[in-house]
Amino acid sequence: MKKLTKILGSALSASAIFAGLAAAATLTISSNTLAAGNAAVTSCGVSSLAATRTVDNNGAVTQVDVRGIPQACAGQTLYVTLRGASGASLGSASTAIGSCSGGCSVSFASFSSVTASNLTGYAFAVRG
């Protein structure tokens, strides 16, 4: 009888824990945020972005311009990472994509610590 009491006590504790988990989970399911998350994940067409950079006379990057951003991306945020050897990050920045007609463009002036000769590429992400 004593053993059965212990077993029942353990089972009740476990039930209480899972009831808590289930309750927490259903809180999200019933929220508006989850309803929005259920919408299809779409892209505004950024699969082929390209950037150019300018340098000062010491070869330091003074500005990075990203052009040809689809108009559908306006209002979203563009993230850019400058890549060095083996794909290592040399620096990252983000900015809002303003409204535009035709292709949008954004500029970054925060990479002065990056030397152009170390730059091997760019990585872009757009998130709305």
Binding site: A25, T26, T42, T54, Y122, F124, R127, G128
Partner: protein, 208 residues
């Protein structure tokens, strides 16, 4: 009716099943962390080098004392009252085949000072932004050229090889698609001096 007896094995099985259900519910709840709009892209740069020698250079000098005379094909600077002489030098960057979306990582201009009357003068290289022709450039027409007010680099008038860092000028020229080179001026200002310069070359490390 048969009573279901609670045994340790059955209890453990029930706990395991409950764990799986709980984990499943928890995982489903994290789906709402994804964004409604996502996109990603990448760009890989290609690096290269380009060396342009004298055969790719265009040279001229103009003489204040002969304001309508053209002197293409060589480089001379002189500082002297009413007899100043300036030189102009550029390279054909088309030989490097770098598109306007590319740029210069480094650019070095090399020159040879072959004669000079004073070795301690400073000769400055100012960027030129408007077109000129070696066959028609004169002191008079040179006055209407667009020339930068700040020297990109300088060198002394002593004999020997000089190297100037001109990265920003070449980078800008690649992007604009036009390159009008530099104006070389003896900017020492004290006393007269004549310097002749030869064997210009330009070395460019670029990306595209």
């Amino acid at each position: 009716m048969r009573r279901l007896r609670i045994t340790p094995l059955r209890l453990a099985s029930a706990l395991a099943a409950a764990s799986l259900v709980g984990a499943g519910v928890g995982y489903a709840a994290t789906l709402n962390l994804t964004s409604e709009h996502l996109g990603a892209a990448s760009q890989t740069l290609t690096k290269g080098t380009c060396n342009l020698g004298s055969s790719s250079a265009t040279e001229a000098w103009v003489d204040q004392s002969a304001p309508t005379q053209s002197n293409g094909g060589s480089l001379v600077t002189q500082t002297q009252n009413n007899r100043n002489q300036y030189s102009f030098l550029r390279f054909g960057l088309s030989g490097c085949s770098v598109p306007s979306t590319g740029g210069a990582d480094t650019a070095t201009l090399s020159l040879q000072v072959t004669s000079t009357s004073k070795t301690n003068h400073t000769i400055s290289a100012f960027p030129v932004y408007s077109s000129w022709s070696a066959s028609s450039l004169t002191w008079t027409s040179a006055q209407s050229l667009s020339v930068g007010s700040t020297a990109t680099d300088t060198f002394s008038s002593s004999l020997g090889t000089k190297t100037l860092t001109v990265t920003s000028d070449v980078d800008a020229a690649i992007k604009s698609g036009t390159f009008w080179g530099w104006e070389l001026v003896d900017t020492n200002g004290g006393g007269s001096n004549t310097t002749t310069i030869d064997s210009p070359s330009l070395s460019v490390s670029y990306e595209k």
